[in-house]
């Protein structure tokens, strides 16, 4: 069970990254959906798996970009968006947005399989 969740999470993250190279941002939802169809999980584990996969992928990518950039752009965008200039908050928001789309995709698949 735990292995299945881990494999599911890893696969969603990997395939989302690959999909992101060729498709717009929304590709992560169908990816999470498709992976979770192949590896059936109960709704909660499915959601958490999709959520975690994208939280780590988007959060990790954003954090890496932010650190390499010394927070220059993140700070500016965080003033542009109402985040009071906090580039860390912006990384978190980025991670959460990805996570919600990923989690939603995986959850939908889980309900379809049941």
């Amino acid at each position: 069970m735990l292995i299945k969740v881990l494999v599911n999470t890893l696969l969603i993250a990997l395939l989302s990254f690959a999909g992101g190279l060729f498709f717009p941002n929304w590709i992560i939802a169908p990816v999470a959906f498709a992976v979770s169809l192949l590896i059936p999980l109960r709704p909660l584990p499915a959601f958490l798996s999709g959520f975690t996969a994208l939280f780590l992928l988007w959060g990790g990518l954003a954090l890496a970009a932010d650190v390499a950039n010394g927070g220059i752009l993140g700070t500016k965008i965080a003033w542009l968006l109402p985040l009071n200039g906090s580039h860390y908050a912006l990384v978190l928001v980025t991670a959460l947005l990805g996570a919600l789309m990923g989690g939603g995709g995986a959850l939908t698949a889980s309900f379809l399989r049941k």
């Binding site: 992101g20 717009p24 941002n25 988007w58 220059i72 990805g98 995709g105």
Partner: protein, 826 residues
């Protein structure tokens, strides 16, 4: 399958995905948030690593030879190309790579396409902007310029190469690598072409030759008595120190323009008024330049200085670079959007430009036969319009607007009952516009030739084809010659022509002739000659002995202080010139002080008023950022001007042209009982100058108290200079810069406007040059090179311009190497 939870989950997820990828109505400047935040396609891709590597290899198909760009630590490129055409190719690539969004955005502005990207704007401002640009004929003007460019084999080749370079960069862009602003506004760049280059040139022509006061002056003429009008708008200011010194001889005109016989009845004494409102460029687009001869410098060689005053935008209007070809090496600044170096120097000479401020935009009142506007009354009969077109203005988030634009023998109809410009007042009148930059011309050719100019004759040949916007080209070379010429193709006007809207019912008011190029004001000093310097600061090029009538909007004070200083200086070094270019002395404030203090009643001042007066009295007219004196003076003069003029000006509901500040000051110096001082609303009282000066001072108290509370009493804080992003977003701007100066200082740094590039070139055997601009080489707000130079610019310090030679490839100043070859990419 659990159908209900499945459907709910499906709906929520799809809903979320759609919401994150939708542009929300009413939030036209807001991006699609999912695309924008996605680390793989959104703004995170623009977060350039601080240790990014700009080295690499690029294939440019059709490049004639090998090319190499050496970037120094400031990301300034030193381009080594096999030919000028190759240099243009690489320049196009570099402009696109580092400044693509701004260059395309400016061509959108020029072509009247802002609403397409930004939406209609507040109170339809962008739509009005677009209609104004289209009606003025910007696209037609660019097409005419393009025709001239493409008939010239050299220019065609260079512009084609530049375009290919821009497109080489655009062609490999993915969604992720788009400049940030495209993601913010959610659109994509179009392929570049030579028309866009021409549009950029016309955008600059609009910025520099798109100003006139015809409507405000027309209304003022119709409202004021002849005597009052003459007082408010005198022909020449008393304090004028023209570009060509007083007493210089001028060649007589080839032909004298003839004033129409009806001028008195139909023009000077007309009572017509105008309610339409023009689109006008930033009013203080100006500049300083000067060159001092060897006899006034420590090195014995000329020094040339230039600081063009433009909007201090981010990304900057300028991109600094060096171009090295087998025949020349040129350094300076270029315009992203066009090939060549525009202000700079080569191994033989240096040049700098300031705006001429001459009036080359005039209006004619058109009488149409009926509402269809197909025929207009001209030379005694109804004539068909010369052209008609329907422009489609695409507006983001709204239906397109179809604008019918007709043309007359004078030029396009700018205003008619369907378009009143920026005015909300309906009008049934129509006005055609005659605008010099709409004529076919090729200004780029001048910079092509200047890049390789070796001496005065080359300089003269290079600039003689330059038509518009009229510029003062200052020049200095290693042979010791310094020179200045007001170059442009200017209409020869009879005295008063084009001050007001002119009758358009016959040909007698049309521009009759062009001032021959050799009659343009100029001054050449070979080493040892005359006063040993040339200069310009947008003042009148000559006094009234110049045989043509000069019209325009010419500020006086910067020219005055520049000449005063240069006259007094000797053994000048580049360091002296840096001090002078960043000088904050306000000569207007100095000349105004006797009026303010000489007519001031100090009796009955309270402690607070006395304290402020004391600060003002102790101030030595330096607009330094920490001084409070300039703030007090600024507010005091402002109130005085309003107190003296507003009562008369409020008598008309129309917008009347206001006099220049020099006019008011000189009037008060000349005549302490100037008729406008009396407040016309107080019938039984005749106010004195002392009363209004004292009252104006008291009126500044609430302003000063408020500024004090907000910590804005120091001039730098009060003036509040920004290097402002083109989209006016504070987050992408450098705000609240602690810099002094102002409108009438050599350091003309205002709120969003100022010395956009400061350059000093000493023409010793080994050229010594310095430069700085309020921006950075990268246009990407996510790059550490976005604002590299801003703090130095604020502090008044410079960077040496490194003139890299072919043997310097291993120099430690080379930080990155970008190789170009004809082979395909990487």
């Amino acid at each position: 399958m659990r159908i209900v939870p499945f459907l709910i989950s499906l709906l929520l997820t799809t809903g979320l995905v759609i919401c994150l990828n939708l542009r929300w109505g009413g939030l036209q400047k807001k991006p699609r948030i999912g695309a924008f935040l996605s680390p793989q396609e959104g703004f995170w891709q623009n977060a350039e690593p601080v240790d990014a590597d700009f080295s690499g290899t690029v294939g440019l198909p059709g490049l004639e030879g090998k090319g190499t760009v050496y970037f120094d630590e400031y990301l300034i490129p030193h381009v080594f190309a096999a030919s000028e055409t190759d240099a243009c190719y690489i320049q196009g690539y570099l402009h696109a790579r580092f400044r693509l969004w701004q260059m395309e955005f400016q061509t959108f502005a020029a072509a009247g396409r802002l609403s397409e990207v930004l939406g209609p704007g507040e109170n339809n401002a962008y739509v009005k902007y677009d209609r104004s640009m289209r009606r003025l004929g910007m696209v037609m003007a660019a097409k005419a310029a393009l025709g001239t460019i493409e008939r010239d084999t050299i220019m065609r080749k260079d512009c084609d190469a530049y375009t290919a370079g821009v497109n080489a960069w655009i062609g490999q862009l993915s969604q992720g690598s788009l400049p940030l602003e495209y993601k913010l506004l959610d659109y994509r760049p179009e392929p570049w072409n030579n028309l866009k280059t021409a549009l950029f040139i016309k955008y600059m022509a609009f910025e520099l030759a798109g100003a006139d006061n015809d409507f405000g002056m027309t209304n003022a003429r119709s409202f004021f008595s002849k005597a009052d009008f003459a007082k408010l708008f005198p022909a020449v200011p008393d304090s004028l120190d023209p570009i060509i010194p007083k007493g210089s001889p001028f060649m007589q005109p080839a032909r004298i323009p003839k004033m129409p016989v009806t001028a008195d009845s139909l023009y000077f004494n007309s009572t017509a008024t105008v309610t339409d409102e023009e689109l006008r460029p930033e009013k203080s687009n100006g500049s300083n330049n000067w060159a001092v001869a060897g006899k006034k410098t420590l090195s014995g060689r000329p020094i040339l200085c230039n600081d063009p005053h433009l909007s201090t935008n981010m990304p900057s209007i300028w991109y600094q670079m060096q171009i090295h070809t087998p025949t020349y090496s040129v350094s300076g600044v270029s315009f992203p959007g066009a090939p060549f170096v525009v202000i700079g120097f080569n191994d033989s000479c240096a040049w700098g430009i300031t705006n001429s401020e001459r009036d080359v935009r005039d209006y004619y009142s058109i009488k149409f036969k009926d509402e269809t506007r197909q025929e207009y009354w001209f030379n005694g009969r109804w004539q068909p319009v010369t052209a008609q077109r329907v422009d489609t203005i695409n507006i983001l988030g709204s239906a397109p607007l179809y604008d019918t634009i007709v043309s007359t023998v004078f030029g396009p109809v700018m205003f008619d009952p369907t378009f009143t410009g920026f005015s909300d007042i309906a009008s049934n009148r129509s006005y055609a516009v005659r605008w010099k930059p709409a004529d076919p011309s090729d200004e780029l050719l001048t910079f092509h030739y200047l890049q390789s100019a070796r001496n005065y004759h080359d300089y003269n040949d290079a600039i003689k084809t330059f038509q518009a916007p009229g510029q003062n080209f200052a020049f200095a070379d290693k042979e010791g010659t310094i020179a200045i010429r007001q170059q442009g193709q200017f209409p020869a006007k009879w005295k008063g022509q084009g001050l007001f809207v002119m009758p358009g019912e016959d040909s007698s008011y049309m521009w009759q002739d062009t001032i021959p190029g050799d009659r343009n004001p100029y001054m050449r000093l070979d080493s040892g000659d005359g006063r040993g310097f040339v200069s310009s600061a947008n003042q009148e090029p000559a006094d009234t002995t110049y045989p043509y009538w000069l019209s325009g909007n010419f500020p006086v004070y910067r020219g005055l202080i520049i000449n005063r200083k240069l006259n007094a200086m000797n053994s000048i070094t580049p360091a002296d010139m840096m001090k002078m270019q960043t000088d904050n002395f306000d000569v207007f404030a100095q000349m105004a002080q006797p009026v303010l203090l000489g007519h001031f009643n100090e009796k009955g001042l309270n402690a607070e008023e006395k304290a402020y007066l004391n600060i003002y009295k102790l101030w030595k007219f330096h607009n330094d950022p920490d001084e409070e004196g300039p703030t007090i003076f600024y507010l005091w003069w402002n109130h005085l001007e309003h107190d003296i003029l507003d009562d008369e000006f409020a008598g008309s509901p129309l917008r009347l042209q206001r006099p220049n500040e020099s006019t008011l000051l000189e009037a008060l110096i000349r005549d302490t009982s100037w008729s406008f001082i009396d407040n016309v609303n107080t019938k039984d009282v005749k106010e004195t100058l002392q009363q209004v000066v004292t009252e104006a001072f008291r009126q500044t108290m609430p302003d000063l108290a408020q500024a004090g509370q907000e910590g804005r009493l120091p001039w730098g804080k009060f003036k509040d200079t920004w290097a402002r992003h083109l989209l006016r977003l504070p987050a992408l701007s450098r705000t609240h810069l602690p810099i002094g100066g102002g409108t009438n200082c050599i350091n003309a740094a205002k709120q969003f406007h100022g010395p956009s590039w400061r350059m000093i070139v000493q023409l010793t055997d080994k050229t010594e040059a310095y430069g700085i601009y309020p921006g950075g080489q990268s246009g990407n707000p996510g790059s550490p090179y976005y604002d590299t130079f801003v703090d130095r610019w604020v502090a008044g310090t410079y960077l040496p311009v490194w003139i890299m030679g072919p043997d310097d490839k291993a120099d430690k100043r080379v930080k990155w190497v970008l190789n170009f070859s004809t082979a395909s990419t990487e």
